[in-house]
């Protein structure tokens, strides 16, 4: 468009103003007509040779326009705006623009920023931002108001269409949130009146008022300028609902999957699991595993929840495992932003406090330090480990730290220490229910106890309370007495204890430290450095945090002839000599049928190579093999060499699978032969199955039926072994050097082949000296004898049979199936609980106790003074070649 000279502009304006009255009288909109004339003249002058338009051009063209004073009489038909009050170039006044900028732009923006930064509303009332789409829609409200102000204030109406559309959207969103916040409005008004605070909850309402006022102005301006009016609100409302629906889709799909997966109908349950595995949101599922109830702002989710019954949280946690293959507490709890608006959030409330389950991860609780000190008496076949754990609590409430810990095979907790006000306090040992009751009582009064009880074979449950809030720490130490695992008499193995399940975090930068001494050279200690300067008898270093759960095994060299050791029981003067001897159990009969149950859970996908190796080695044993693959349904296959790769193919694993149906089928098949066995190769099993009773019934009715050898791959809890492991029909394979090596040490379950030697303990009659060549050992050997004796006594079901077991556990300060350890804060608490804390001098230590040289002298004296012969131990002795 050619530029107009000032004179031309003045001539045009003067002409227009002279015609305004005529045009009004004619029922026209003068401003619109002026704009039309302006555009018409611009078009006409486009063809003129001059570079700019002068006043003469304008006058000439205006004359040609020949606009009459009265173009046409207005008919009597209804006229939209009255000619007497025509729309006048509506421009937003400065005051109105400032008000809208404050209450329609700044206030909603500040409110959104505050909520995003602090989750103030989410933590107190409900989550106004359940998805990022909600956040974007809310952010569009101040943008829309600002754009409308700019468009109305500036000449040329910039971004007119966008301003119209966004205004409709802003009204829709602000109206929705004004309704949602309606309950808070009186509180906000009260807060403003009394404290001068409380503007934030009013932001939706003020934004709505501003958007409505702007809409009125936009409509009038559109009419005046011949511009398109703002988009209808119903259209923008529909767009907002569709956008919210898209954002809510993953949540709705996940909630639908949860409903289906929790159904009583097996087919629907399977469909729900498939839906969740393929299309569900793992984060949503995890959130549902922690949050008991959540006030929903999202209309789609709210509408969905209206029509459904809530699924119990325990069920959702099981569904999480069935979908992902991981226990819900094996991963970090969902972040605060992801759980906004939660009420009864498990991560905050810890409903399992003082109970017997590890349960949900607790927010703010973490393992701050970990240190393992150990001493191995390799020739004696004894080890002692002390694991010191420091918990830190960054939350504002007191917390209980809980962990299920897997001990080395055959180990017992023989010491428990708690630091109270910087001083070490030793535990009292007593009956399991007695110490648990004492712990519960003290937890209820929020004082300082720590409790250790057994939780399945070679498993303990550690509970510490209270870890003080706001960065407070709690330090505890567990002493573990364990026999060395000796698969070859020339080598001893000591697997470190590891965490199976925990309710606290373990930061990646933790660097747990380990320091192991041995009285012989250490052959291998994994990532630990072996100090060659100490004749290779020390291994130390820092581990990764993952090693706390993955485990570590230390190998020490032994004299192959060291098959027996002895120690003095100084707490039983009448019969003071305890002997530990290595024996090889007789090989069991070769099974005619071997049923192999393979867990179809996701974790097993990482172990297909090991599974192939195991199946191939079992095939060589000659038994009839059949695989029962436990996925969502059980599939059965005969094993031959060619089929092995397809039987364990990675694509077969999905989610977390219930293995019980496969175990029952496998047991039935194996038992049909009369000489059958079951090998169960599985990953973590964090939930008990409903079919447990079916298996128990079979074991009770057929106690001589097939044994189930359970071999776990990887870490994590195993509730089935926790529950059924006390039954001799289930034989957990102790995790020492990996599943392949551990199964080989068994000689192959049901193969009838030779198995690895095991320790046996006995007490010699009074005055009988220890056997020739037996190595003197520390009192830990006596603790191992006591632990074995307690197991034997505890297995006797006759009335009162457990009393001697508890007494022995008290004497030797051992945690067992019938006893536990608890540290209380005061003597009064011990007295009330009927317990007595131990004399610290009797607690074991990583310093050798008592000195081996003194023991050796004592043994020599017994040989010279003693009478009678060495008692013959049960089972055949392991005598290496050259020692017979």
């Amino acid at each position: 468009m050619k530029p107009w000279s000032d004179e031309a502009r003045e001539a045009f304006d003067a002409y227009c103003e002279s015609r305004r009255g005529d045009l009004l009288a004619a029922g026209a909109d003068p401003d619109e007509v002026f704009a039309d004339w302006h555009a018409h003249i611009a078009r006409e002058t486009a063809g003129l040779p001059d570079a700019s338009v002068g006043a003469d051009d304008i006058r000439r063209l205006l004359a040609r326009l020949d606009a009459p004073a009265e173009p046409a009489p207005a008919p009597a038909a209804p006229v939209a705006p009255s000619p007497a009050a025509p729309p006048r170039m509506p421009r937003l006044s400065r005051v109105a623009a400032v008000l809208v900028s404050i209450f329609g732009v700044a206030l909603p923006l500040i409110t959104l920023a505050v909520e995003l930064a602090t989750s103030m509303c989410a933590a107190t009332f409900f989550d106004p931002l359940p998805s990022w789409v909600n956040g974007v829609l809310i952010a569009l409200v101040p943008v829309a108001n600002g754009l409308a102000v700019a468009s109305l204030r500036r000449a040329g109406r910039p971004a007119w269409r966008a301003a119209g559309w966004l205004n409709g959207l802003a009204i829709s969103v602000a109206l929705f949130y004004a309704l949602v916040f309606a309950l808070l409005t009186p509180i906000a008004v009260f807060g403003i009146l009394w404290f001068g605070l409380g503007f934030l909850p009013l932001a939706p309402l003020t934004s709505l008022i501003c958007a409505l006022a702007l809409r009125l102005r936009l409509r009038r301006a559109a009419a005046a300028d011949g511009l398109p009016p703002p988009a209808p609100v119903w259209k923008t409302l529909a767009a907002a609902i569709v956008l919210l629906g898209l954002a809510a889709a993953p949540r709705v799909v996940t909630l639908t999957g949860i409903q289906w997966a929790a159904s009583e109908d097996a087919a629907l349950r399977a469909r729900g699991l498939r839906l969740l595995r393929n299309h569900g949101s793992e984060e949503e599922l995890l959130r549902a595993s922690y949050i008991r109830r959540q006030i929903q702002v999202d209309p789609w989710v709210w509408a969905f929840q209206l029509g459904t019954d809530p699924v119990p949280m325990e069920r959702i946690r099981e569904i999480y495992y069935r979908v992902t293959g991981r226990p819900f507490n094996a991963v970090k709890p969902p972040p605060l932003r992801g759980r906004r608006g939660a009420i009864f959030d498990e991560a905050d409330w810890d409903f399992a406090q003082g109970g017997e389950a590890v349960a949900a991860r607790v927010r703010g609780l973490s393992l701050a330090q970990s240190r393992i000190d150990g001493r191995i008496e390799a020739e004696a076949g004894v080890g002692y480990l002390e694991w010191t754990l420091v918990f830190r609590n960054d939350s504002p409430q007191q917390r209980e730290a809980r962990a299920q810990i897997l001990l080395p095979p055959g180990a017992s907790v023989s010491r428990l220490t708690l630091w109270i006000n910087g001083e070490e306090r030793e535990a009292a040992f007593g009956g399991r229910s007695q110490v648990r009751e004492a712990y519960r009582n003290v937890v209820a009064r929020r004082r300082d106890p720590v409790l250790v009880t057994t939780d399945g074979p070679d498993r303990i449950l550690l509970q510490c309370f209270p870890v003080p809030p706001e960065g407070g720490q709690m330090k505890t130490r567990i002493g573990i007495t364990c026999p060395l695992v000796v698969r070859d008499p020339g080598e001893g193995l000591l697997p470190m204890p590891r965490i199976l399940e925990r309710n606290f975090g373990a930061p990646g930068a933790l660097q747990p430290s380990v320091w192991i001494d041995s009285d012989t050279a250490i052959a291998d200690a994994g990532p630990l450095a072996i100090d060659r300067g100490a004749e290779g008898r020390e291994a130390r270093g820092e581990l990764t945090t993952a090693a706390l759960e993955d485990g570590l095994c230390v190998r020490v060299r032994r004299n192959r002839g060291a098959i027996a050791s002895w120690a003095r029981d100084d707490r039983d003067p009448a019969s003071p000599v305890v002997v530990q001897q290595l024996v090889r159990p007789p090989a069991g009969p070769a099974a005619k049928r071997l049923a192999i149950v393979i867990d179809g859970s996701t974790h097993m996908r990482e172990h297909t190579g090991e599974l192939e190796t195991i199946l191939a080695s079992l095939l060589r044993a000659g038994a009839e093999l059949r695989v029962f693959f436990a996925s969502d349904a059980v599939s059965t296959s005969v094993v031959d060499r060619a089929s092995i790769p397809s039987l364990v193919a990675p694509k077969r694993y999905a989610g977390g699978c219930d293995n019980m149906a496969a175990l029952v089928q496998a047991w039935d098949w194996a038992s049909a032969s009369g000489e059958g066995a079951v090998l169960w190769l599985h990953a973590t099993q964090p939930f008990e199955s409903d079919a447990t009773e079916s298996l128990l019934q079979r074991w009770q009715r057929r106690p001589d039926g097939p044994r189930i050898h359970a071999c776990q791959f990887g870490g994590g809890p195993d509730r089935i072994t926790d529950r059924l492991g006390v039954n001799p029909a289930l034989r957990p394979v102790a995790p020492v050097a990996g599943p392949v090596a551990d199964l080989a040490a068994l000689g192959g379950p049901g193969s009838g082949g030779p198995t690895a030697p095991v320790w046996q303990w006995s007490k010699l009659p009074p005055g009988v000296p220890p056997p020739d060549g037996a190595s003197p050992a520390s009192a830990h050997l006596v603790r191992l004898w006591a632990a074995d004796e307690i197991r034997r006594l505890a297995g006797d079901r006759s009335k009162g049979a457990t009393d001697p077991a508890i007494a022995l556990a008290r004497t030797w300060q051992l945690v067992s199936a019938v006893s536990g350890a608890v540290v209380l804060e005061t003597q009064e608490q011990y007295r009330q609980a009927g317990l007595k804390d131990i004399d610290p001098a009797t607690a074991p230590d990583t310093i050798p106790e008592p000195m081996s040289a003194l023991l050796a002298l004592w043994g020599v004296a017994l040989v010279f003074l003693g009478r009678g012969t060495v008692r013959v131990l049960r089972g055949p002795c392991v005598v290496p070649a050259g020692h017979r």
Binding site: M1, A28, D29, R64, D66, A72, G226
Partner: protein, 117 residues
């Protein structure tokens, strides 16, 4: 009677109603760019209407809801304003057409009646 002033006055009287009919009729088959519409109507023989008359008329028709407008951005200059009939305008045009046809038919019939007599 051969009085030009009288005839001019009579055609002005007649033209007033016809202009609106012509505007609506010109939009019957679809929307039109305002400038083209005005140039076309201004050049219509017998209608004797100027651009200056047509723009106020179009403004009034829009305010009355008989036509609607929309702006289309133009690379050559200011946004172009397009006019289109509204539903109400379409109904009004149909009524006007009926009225004109009836009127013309009656006028012609008057002449035929006189001839028969």
């Amino acid at each position: 009677m051969d009085d030009p002033a009288y005839l001019d006055n009579w055609t002005v009287q007649i033209r007033r109603g016809w202009i609106e009919l012509c505007v609506l009729k010109a939009l019957e088959r679809g929307e039109r760019y305002g400038y083209d519409l005005v140039r076309m109507l201004a050049g219509l023989p017998g209608l004797d209407v100027t651009e200056g008359t047509l723009y106020p008329l179009l403004s009034r028709l829009r305010l009355q809801g008989l036509v609607s407008t929309r702006l289309v951005e133009s690379a050559e200059g200011p946004a172009r304003k397009y006019y289109a009939l509204t539903a109400r305008g379409r109904r009004t045009l149909a009524q006007m057409n009926d009225h004109v046809e009836t009127l013309v038919r009656q006028v012609r019939r008057l002449g035929e009646t006189e001839d028969r007599r």
